[in-house]
Symmetry: D3
């Protein structure tokens, strides 16, 4: 029995509230249960120096956690003067995941930045961020297409992410904080709506796992991502 009473292959409630803020070209507040992440997509008609003049664009991401998103207050990264290794690892993952479904040539010479800020954390913040960032990106790209700034749709598929893990010997879907702290293995899968995998990361925490375990986690992830794909479609409208 999971601490939350959920079945092993049961996601938490997924909600995606589009247009949560008004200045960004795209924005959503996404929740996986008590995990809530605000994502904005900002379009800028400029590029990082190393991409200039190549006839293509860039999609990147930044990630942050409000100091009291967590059970006990964490130090503000802006006050510490640097982003932790964890933060940098997560924002690199989010950026790669979104680029996996974006044709950068069709995007044209512009940059879209996905800012993912965790308002409240209860496990799975990076997977909620990726899943919400897709919606913010989709909204921003739709706006660019409506304005005629982009001719062909650069987005090639939906992308979503979910965590899975082995908790007391049982593979389970969408770990919350309590499960995450006690899991033997902890995985994040970034999947595409066409069935492909963009990223698989499975880490032994308490105990290592075998090939069969890896496959069972991947199959749980597919169940979860299919539900997220539906919620994304509904939010985009």
């Amino acid at each position: 029995m999971r601490p939350s009473g959920r079945a092993p292959d049961e996601m938490r409630a997924i909600t995606i509230e589009p247009h949560f803020t008004r200045h960004a070209e795209g924005s959503v507040l996404i929740s996986f249960g008590d995990t809530r992440v605000l994502v904005t997509a900002s379009v800028e008609e400029r590029l990082p120096p190393w991409l200039k003049g190549k006839g293509e664009g860039w999609v990147t991401a930044e990630y942050g956690m409000l100091p009291r998103a967590t059970h006990t207050r964490g130090q503000r990264e802006a006050a510490k003067g640097k982003q932790s290794g964890r933060t940098q690892e997560i924002q690199r993952l989010i950026g790669r995941s979104l680029r996996a479904v974006t044709d950068l040539k069709k995007l044209g010479e512009r940059q879209i930045t996905l800012d993912c800020d965790v308002i409240q954390a209860d496990g799975g913040t990076r997977t909620a961020a990726i899943s919400g960032a897709f919606v913010a990106l989709r909204i921003a790209v739709n706006k660019l297409m409506a304005q005629g700034l982009i001719k062909e749709d650069p987005i090639t598929a939906q992308v979503a992410a979910v965590s899975c893990g082995i908790h007391q010997g049982t593979p389970v879907l969408d770990l919350d904080y309590v499960e995450d702290s006690a899991a033997d293995a902890d995985a994040n899968f970034v999947l595409l709506s066409n069935g492909n995998i963009a990223e698989a990361q499975a880490t032994a925490e308490g105990a290592t796992y075998d090939e069969e375990g890896l496959l069972r986690l991947l199959r749980l992830a597919r169940i979860g991502c299919n539900q997220i794909f539906e919620a994304q479609v509904k939010a985009i409208g």
Copy 2:
């Protein structure tokens, strides 16, 4: 006529949503029109080194703005590796304002940190932050009193803040972003529910002002703060 069509002494709509997040001892989402600030109050049973053993507590604040809270995306301070002078100035002001209504001896040897994060900006973020922080602090202190950790109420009055300015020759209350950008003078007042002043800051931007101008701004601020005091009382319940 103000760009927003408001009368000179008319505040924007004030909303205060208490308990916006669940981990913090106190939290609110406060809005002054399109300006929205999330404030959490975190109680910690520890003190900054220079206060240890003096038999009193500390109230402090941190302030941040999400990168796309504004019309165009700003660089994330955690990524830049330092907080701007503006950020530091604002968080020092918030901290002083809250301490002006807190008896630190009665608070006991603990620290309360008010994290004020701007979700969306349309002028007056620091005054909304102070006004919301009071509610978050009040909720957190009520919890400590209910738990018997504090015997006597350390909070001595309500505190609220509002901006005023001279816009096209007319003193106006609660500047939004459009007015703020064009104001000749820009003031922030931090007022107490007992009628006193905790902080007055009036800065000439385009044109300097005289004593009469200063007094008219102060009187507008009283009108605004009285409305905020009411909204605070309602939110605390």
Copy 3:
């Protein structure tokens, strides 16, 4: 009775020694009693990036305190690797104050930086810095006009600053360190020789204050600034 034996509306001795150093386009050593600040004005024929090509100039300030300007040695900010919030707040105030009396269009596309370094501190360092910076700026601008680089005088008035506070219930002028540490309220006023106000900042420390208190502090500040204006005129010669 004030600790120094001064009357409530009595300034400390003001001395302004112009041309204290030889490389800067303008320089002064200003003293308010034992507070001594060295100010240099540096003219550079370049602008911050965001001002380029707008046909106007810029006046800015930096502030520092020598590690042993104070009673006990403070850590050197260059060694700590960052400027404190207090330092940044003060240098922003000095810059705004000088810009309040400078017509940036008439200054032309050049930048003047006022470096204010506190040699010895006994309260009121920021107000001495502003008052001295005006003289350094005036000397530097005079040089630019004598060289024919500026046609019309860009300086529109004199500016000076002084602190006031409520000490043991009495409003007093020009706080020294001993009074400052014990004051109930602490204010800084930046006033113009034409009678106007460039900046008013009044902060409750031990006890909040009322409108009447604010006005009494402002009136003391006028007395002080008038004396500083005279000393400035004499120093410029």
Copy 4:
């Protein structure tokens, strides 16, 4: 055909030179072809603050690349003043991998730091680092056991890592720099000598992949790691 002429399941030459430096408790120079990494294991009788008094030890890693380990000179991270996101991600991975085969209770209240410095880079630096770090750790732990400081062997298995990828449609083992730059997918597997998986990370670069692709990469990784396990045993002697 691979650019290097290797068969798809062919590793580059593996060499492990133990005792490459003399001060460290354990040290090796490991090469996977032209990739050369110097790893030292440093034993310290102290712990990070958050582990003190828990009766267990810690194994951690740091990673660096000499500025001219690569084809063109990269900026020195010490001169830039911060470690890149890539560096931090890699050193977190190395630390987790080594902890997956270490019983921290049996290690006792001490810390072992694996410093992995890339002397020359030609793809696969992080996997060479993990594979070499195991040998340095084993040598250091053997020394502690010989000195009687540790009673029971805390190391529970061998650990090794190798990269795999999909290159021009073919899954290949142990990517060199040329292949890595052009790969559609890029994976790193950290495997144990008991057959288990400590970490699996598979990232789509040019094209996403499917479950079958993930499994084929994992099987190649087993082939490679088995050869590394043999080389480790020979190096430890």
Copy 5:
């Protein structure tokens, strides 16, 4: 002929004004011609962590240059967020030089910090700093002895420093900025009043030099330091 008209072995005017500031335990304003350095000695009854409990004290130095001490304004190190290599090299040299004449055991478990801040620069700032720092240290130590905190005089000799160089083929004493910029070789000598050498540093700039050149520079340095020793004695009184 030297640009300044001085003879090859002629120092610039040396002035040492003791007690220039009032808070520090020792302070001087020293000038070598137009080079002016303010030095304060701060006594603290605490030690750096690595010296605690060894029954001895520490003498250290920090060095800074006001932004407009020089012909053109330099960036403030506190604003840049780090001290330059040059600054660190100089402050290490000053500290070593003072420790060469201090018996740290007799000093007792306290630290004296010499802050050397250049008010105006015209070549030779580090040598003026060392020469002035000796006086500030002597004054501070005299105070400690007068208070009975130190029993035996820990200062074993006077120390002074001067620069020399080879300018247009001629060895010259006490380079000013114009000479320093054009010198073929540039040397700094730190000498003791007992005739010994604490530090010799001779650097080829435009042209390398030979043993005879090195000795001629050293002999010039003795001439200069003897004059500084006299000025130190007079300043201490």
Copy 6:
């Protein structure tokens, strides 16, 4: 008797292994006994901003020490976020030494960076770095000349460096770590193959020294450098 059993004027074994890594335009692994430094020379067809358009090139150096090059592990400078004063002092010395034998006009508008990374430390790391950097520079310049990118040889002499010191009253050559820790004076000489001196630095540690001592150290340095010049010639081939 020296701790190592060497005669006072006896160098440790000097080995210089050229072409130690393959990407750099020049590279060596140099050893002075147990001190081992890897030096690479990187040629870049770009210049620091302040040198652009002057028709000359630049030679510069960076220095680092692997965390466990030493007896006990030191903190990684990249992790600390800044280079120590010692590191900066050393890399400035290395750069100056190489420039003393390079005609920057003949080098043309390009930069050569010498990266000196200490693999193992046993005293004299900076002198080994300079001596090895000359070989790496020579190899890189030979390559540029062979490619016809440089017409005339910009290198005017060989340069080498060695440390000397006064150990238990005896001047000795090429201090190892044990001697260095106990030396009364510690000197580094950078000498040219034409007999001239590029840099002399002699520092009193435990006891100051006299002119005769300085000369005896210089003469020992000549003996050492002559042996290094021979080893350099052999390594270049």
